[in-house]
């Protein structure tokens, strides 16, 4: 188990599977197995990730595998491009899902402090049903499907970025707790701002005060805006699909609100005409929504400002290099950084020794140069 490379030959399928199992159990790491023949099926199924190559020896390996490739050389692309992207996408998606549901759910808890803990909902039932179905589910799908931190050719040039996944940078406990805290803070901000801004004095020029349905609808609007704008802050790769889904979800909310409240009063009950007649035309509604959204998103925004400016991560630096064009204008630097990133990821005894020898040679070369020049 202390070897970097082991070669086994003339092994049976059962032996292949048991070697895989042994490595998996003893090292505790994630194992990938790749093979192209029927005798590799056991090994592929035993590993955490099984990759099958379709081709000369038939389709059995492909049918048993999690991913299938037509040629062995595509393994690099599978891991370094798609594996890297998938890791970031899944992390962002899960953390955001937790965040948005914490934001919605906690406002209901806070409200119950004011209702004598009787279990009264602040929002109409249909609003809450639509939350995870229509109003906030699509933008996060666009994150999960389309998000890229750097483009595919850059991923291949900088394999060190793949190590972000191995070191679990995007989904460690710090991040999870950070997002949950963000949700708690956001829900508190939204709830308190709405409660204090809308009661007890009148909210309209005509002297009407805000009742439960008004405060509920305005608070819910703030939540929809906030969680959708939060997705926009999380995305670094905006395609037209992302724009359609994010802003479309917000527009969907207004369409839903309008349609729901012009239905005959049997269906919406107390929220009948709440948008069209009562709060829609009031400046208070829009002014409160604006400030609540900005204040709720400000902590996260300040966090990413500080992180990007003073503690940037590798993908941020590379994004900036591409943005400012220094990859083209300063070609040698771009190539040098690629070489250095490849050095970091080398494994294998002989490869490491080679790298060390090269490093020492460079140093000697520099010393000789300075000796000769002086």
């Amino acid at each position: 188990m202390n070897c970097d490379v082991v070669i086994c030959c003339r092994v049976s399928p059962k032996q292949k599977a048991s070697i895989t199992r042994m490595v998996k159990e003893h090292s505790g790491k994630t194992i990938l197995a790749i093979g192209d023949g029927a005798n590799d099926v056991g090994m592929i199924q035993e590993a955490d990730i099984g990759v099958g190559i379709s081709g000369m020896e038939g389709m059995q390996a492909v049918m048993a595998s999690d991913f299938s490739l037509p040629q062995f050389r595509f393994l690099e692309r599978l891991l370094i491009v798609h594996g890297h992207w998938c890791y970031r996408r899944i992390s962002k998606m899960i953390l955001y899902f937790v965040y948005k549901n914490v934001t919605l759910g906690l406002t209901l808890f806070y409200y119950n402090i004011f209702t004598g803990f009787s279990g009264q909902d602040l929002y109409d039932d249909w609003y809450m049903t639509m939350f995870n179905v229509l109003l906030t589910s699509l933008p996060v799908l666009s994150v999960g499907v389309l998000e890229q931190d750097v483009s595919s050719d850059v991923c291949l040039k900088f394999p060190a970025l793949y190590q972000q996944g191995q070191r679990n940078i995007c989904f460690g406990w710090k991040r999870i707790i950070g997002w949950i805290l963000n949700g708690i803070l956001t829900s508190l901000t939204i709830f308190l701002l709405n409660i204090y801004a809308l009661s007890p004095s009148a909210i309209t020029k005509h002297g009407y005060t805000a009742d439960m349905e008004h405060i509920g609808t305005i608070t819910y609007t703030s939540i929809i805006w906030t969680v959708n704008c939060q997705v926009a802050l999380m995305i670094s790769h905006f395609t037209f699909i992302s724009h359609i889904l994010i802003w479309g979800s917000i527009i969907c909310w207004y369409i839903f609100l309008y349609t729901y409240d012009i239905l005959p009063p049997t269906y919406p009950k107390i929220v009948f005409h709440v948008f069209t007649e009562q709060i829609g035309p009031e400046p208070a509604y829009w002014i409160v929504t604006l400030i609540v959204v900005i204040v709720s998103l400000l902590p996260y925004f300040i966090h990413i400002v500080i992180q990007r400016s003073f503690f940037p991560m590798d993908d941020h630096i590379i994004q900036e290099m591409k943005y400012s064009g220094t990859d083209v204008s300063d070609g040698p630097m771009w190539l040098r950084e690629q070489e250095r990133s490849k050095q970091m990821t080398q494994v294998g005894y002989s490869a490491r020794v080679d790298a060390k020898i090269r490093h020492l040679q460079e140093q000697m070369h520099r010393k000789r140069k300075s000796f000769y020049s002086s």
Binding site: T115, A197, K205, G207, I241, T266, I291, S324
Partner: protein
């Protein structure tokens, strides 16, 4: 012949490569924003310079609102006992006794000129209109439709009276209708309060029926509040409509009426209150409020202050950011910040 065969062979051999599309190859054109220091500064400065004026205009509108709040529940039933528990019991006894005189006169002095329409509200504190069982206790179908009179689901215990006849309007919300009345005197001249159109239009036209009349209302042993005139249909009973919209918080105001004339500064307004409503058993408070409104509504400094605070904080952050950035600048795309340059791989 053979060349013809060769030609047809090459055309029939199909490539297995999937058709290229930008979506499946994830090469859609994309906008990749970067948080450059310029953009960060611009964002915070923009926030500052837009929010501070909004906050100032909101605050100045709120300052222009003239509002008078007068708590009257304790003073209207004076008890000269020093013992709070005795006072509490005495008040409860007084309010429940139908024979006591519930008239109470309060004096208010107008601090600044108030332009009409001036809104009159009653404010209740510690009254949980938002309790789940209270909110549930209504039947909208019965209020809308005279033939749905017997539909009293959810209205327990105020659903049917002792003869099993349905109560219209049923439910605890209607049963607990507020019944203090106010009449105003300005320099001992009666000041009329306009009680028309104090409810939302949609309530009058759609939610409450124009041919549904109160029946058997407050006919059980416990009377919770006002009685209703049985000859007026529900959708014209404005006080009921206003009360039926349950408030969100335990401290709320409801519109009572409007004063359609201006009030000058330092005028003496006497409020003659019929102190009927029992808030004493649960230590609730009753307050009488008159207030003008502006484009933002009533008097509420909170929103204006929040806007100004956020605007000011944004400007402060912008200044702090630029000063820290000038001290420790980081050029865009500086490779020395890459992790393999900061911590060189040590073998």
């Amino acid at each position: 012949m053979s060349s013809g065969d060769g030609a047809s062979q090459s055309s029939s051999k199909k490539s297995k490569k999937p058709t290229y599309s930008r979506f499946t190859q994830q090469e859609l054109p994309a906008f990749k924003p970067i948080l450059t220091p310029g953009l960060i500064m611009a964002a915070f400065v923009f926030l500052g310079i837009t929010f501070i004026p909004i906050g100032l205009s909101h605050l100045s509108a709120s300052d222009n609102v003239v509002q008078l709040v007068d708590r009257y529940d304790e003073d209207c039933i004076p008890t000269y006992n020093s013992n709070p528990e005795e006072a509490h019991n005495k008040r409860i006894q007084y309010i429940r006794d139908a024979s006591t005189n519930k008239t109470c006169v309060r004096t208010l002095i107008v601090p600044k000129k108030m332009r009409h329409p001036i809104f009159v509200y009653y404010q209740l504190d510690d009254f949980y209109q938002n309790h789940r069982r209270y909110v549930k206790s209504r039947n909208d179908e019965q209020y809308r439709n005279p033939s749905a009179e017997r539909k009293t689901a959810n209205c327990e215990p105020e659903a049917v009276n002792d003869d099993h006849e349905p109560i219209v309007p049923c439910g605890l919300i209607a049963w607990s209708l507020f019944n203090d009345t106010y009449s105003l005197l300005r320099n001992d001249v009666p000041l009329p309060i306009n009680k028309k159109d104090i409810a939302w239009q949609s309530d009058k036209t759609h939610k409450f029926g124009s041919n549904v009349y109160p029946k058997n209302f407050q006919s059980r042993s416990l009377i919770g509040g006002a009685t209703l005139n049985e000859s007026i249909p529900l959708n014209q009973q404005d006080d009921l409509l206003v009360w039926m919209r349950t408030a969100a918080l335990p401290s709320f105001r409801k519109l009572y009426g409007r004063i359609e004339t201006d009030l000058e500064a330092n005028e003496v307004i006497k409020v003659v209150i019929q102190n009927n409503y029992n808030t004493y058993t649960f230590n609730g408070k009753k307050k009488f409020v008159i207030s003008t409104t502006t484009w933002i509504g009533g008097k509420n400094d909170f929103l204006g202050k929040v806007y100004i605070t956020v605007g000011g904080a944004s400007l402060f952050i912008a200044i702090a950011f630029i000063s820290v950035y000038l001290v420790m600048p980081r050029p865009l795309g500086d490779p020395s910040y890459l992790s393999w340059n900061k911590n060189p791989p040590s073998n």
